[in-house]
Amino acid sequence: MCLGVPGKVIEIHGDIATVDFWGVRREVRLDIVDEPVAPGDYILNHVGFAIRRIPEADIGETLALYEQLIAEAAQDDLMASDVRDEIAGTRERADDRR
């Protein structure tokens, strides 16, 4: 429930960012993150909110953990399942909902 998941910001409208999680584009709220976020930045998403902008120098290291988790993990792996739940906490994009 507290793992969070990193994603890349594609575009921003007001308090809502479209974020790419390994090819899945979802909407994430920006009400909580305390730094300016711009397209191209990476954020850490937790239950549908960006809680931190990940400093550029640390992006590679942060993504690597998750990529390994997703690549290796069996369907019932607890960590991979928490990561999937974090992505499920984001919203489908308005475009996709129509």
Partner: protein, 380 residues
């Protein structure tokens, strides 16, 4: 931060680098040898336990190092009477929305999943935004059974501040981690000499929140990330601080955690919630450990809006097996899942008796999935 420690191991970490992992494990061995006696440390995070168990880290620890999982599973420490409130409301016909892990957490006589089987209207959500959306869709009274630590409470606060539909109420069972560390540190039987704090909760609170604790209890706290090497590096730093009798806060997760934390998130958290004392399942009464809605939000408070009929639950007998469950001792770090006579027998992820076997962050479920009793370094 520690005198005489020129190289900060976390600064030069190359992740999934076996050489680095070996060096860190060797450092753990050297430092525990320096310490010269068995040493127990506690982490308070289900994701840390997942990584420790998944990557088999305990098999690499020195035999004299005991790494215990404390009350770090937000689902597990949600107290039975809080689950009872959710169950009672559900049985009164109110729609309940909650995070998926909460469904099978036992109440006194039944879980939300049991209530659902009996026809209660339970909705699994993954974010607070989905709760608001659900309320708008349903247009009938909906109670959000809001659980989780400060990281998740902030998400509840954010939607409250933005404004929620009239038919949505909040049953807050949110918990705040820093006060429970005080309780564990003050337990007479505790062997815990230092704490590994969870990276993402500290992203919100900042590592500065632990400074007063260290001052009071003279035990070091190290903030660590979730990568296996992050955890090893955090343990190396923690053991150095124990060896050097240098209680202080150290941050080995600087890519996510600062001293002051996320001020904007803290501001939202404390505008919506106030800390009150309350029980954590199996642990104790934790002063300031529960987050309740502030008075200005009482119009959203399910406890004020509904007459919650707990008495209706007492017609059912509690499970006899539950009496034998030792979740409380496990979450206080006094016992391991292997000490429980039910573990893996009467109590399994498919048919959990205690809360620790329910959540993906519960110690028992993690040990069950990743292999029995991996704690080869456990103390006698």
């Amino acid at each position: 931060m520690t005198a005489g420690n020129a190289a900060d191991p976390t600064r030069e970490l190359k992740f999934r680098d076996p050489g680095r992992a070996r060096a860190l494990v060797q450092a753990l061995g050297r430092i525990t040898t320096d310490i010269g006696r068995p040493v127990s440390v506690m982490h308070v995070c289900g994701s840390h336990e997942q990584a420790i168990a998944k990557y088999g880290l305990r098999s690499t620890f020195p035999r004299t190092l005991n790494v215990i999982m404390g009350p770090g599973c937000p689902v597990c420490i949600t107290d039975t009477p809080e689950v009872d409130e959710g169950v009672a409301l559900a049985r009164q016909g109110v729609h309940i929305a909650t995070y998926g892990d909460m469904l099978r957490v036992p109440g006194t006589v039944m879980s939300l999943a049991d209530a659902q089987t009996d026809g209660a209207k339970i909705h699994v959500i993954y974010s607070t935004d989905q709760v608001v959306h659900l309320a708008r869709t349903l247009q009938e009274p909906l109670v959000f059974f809001a659980t989780g630590f400060e990281t998740t409470a902030v998400a509840t606060a954010a939607v409250v501040l933005r404004g929620v539909p009239d038919n949505l109420s909040i049953l807050s069972a949110h918990k705040y981690i820093p006060p429970v560390m005080e309780i564990v540190a003050e337990m007479p039987d505790t062997k815990v000499e230092g704490f590994l704090a969870a990276g993402h909760a500290a992203t919100i609170t900042g590592w500065g929140v632990f400074e007063a604790f260290v001052e009071r209890h003279r035990r070091p706290v190290v903030v660590a990330g979730f990568e296996p090497l992050d955890i090893l590096a955090g343990l190396v730093r923690l053991l150095e601080l124990i060896r050097d009798d240098s209680p202080q806060v150290a941050n080995t997760f600087p890519r996510c955690v600062t001293r002051e934390g996320n001020r904007r998130a803290q501001d939202q958290l404390w505008r919506v919630f106030r800390p009150v004392g309350g029980r954590w399942r199996g642990i104790a009464h934790v002063p300031n450990g529960n987050l309740r809605l502030r008075d200005e939000w009482q119009h959203l408070d399910a406890r004020r809006r509904f007459a919650i009929d707990l008495a209706a639950l007492w017609d059912y007998a509690p499970s006899g097996l539950a009496q034998a469950c030792i979740c409380g001792d496990i979450m206080a770090g006094l016992s391991s899942p292997g000490d429980c006579q039910l573990f893996g027998k009467e109590c399994t992820p498919e048919k959990p008796v205690g809360a620790c076997m329910v959540s993906s962050e519960g110690t028992c479920k993690i040990w069950h999935q990743y292999g029995g009793i991996p704690d080869v370094g456990a103390l006698p």
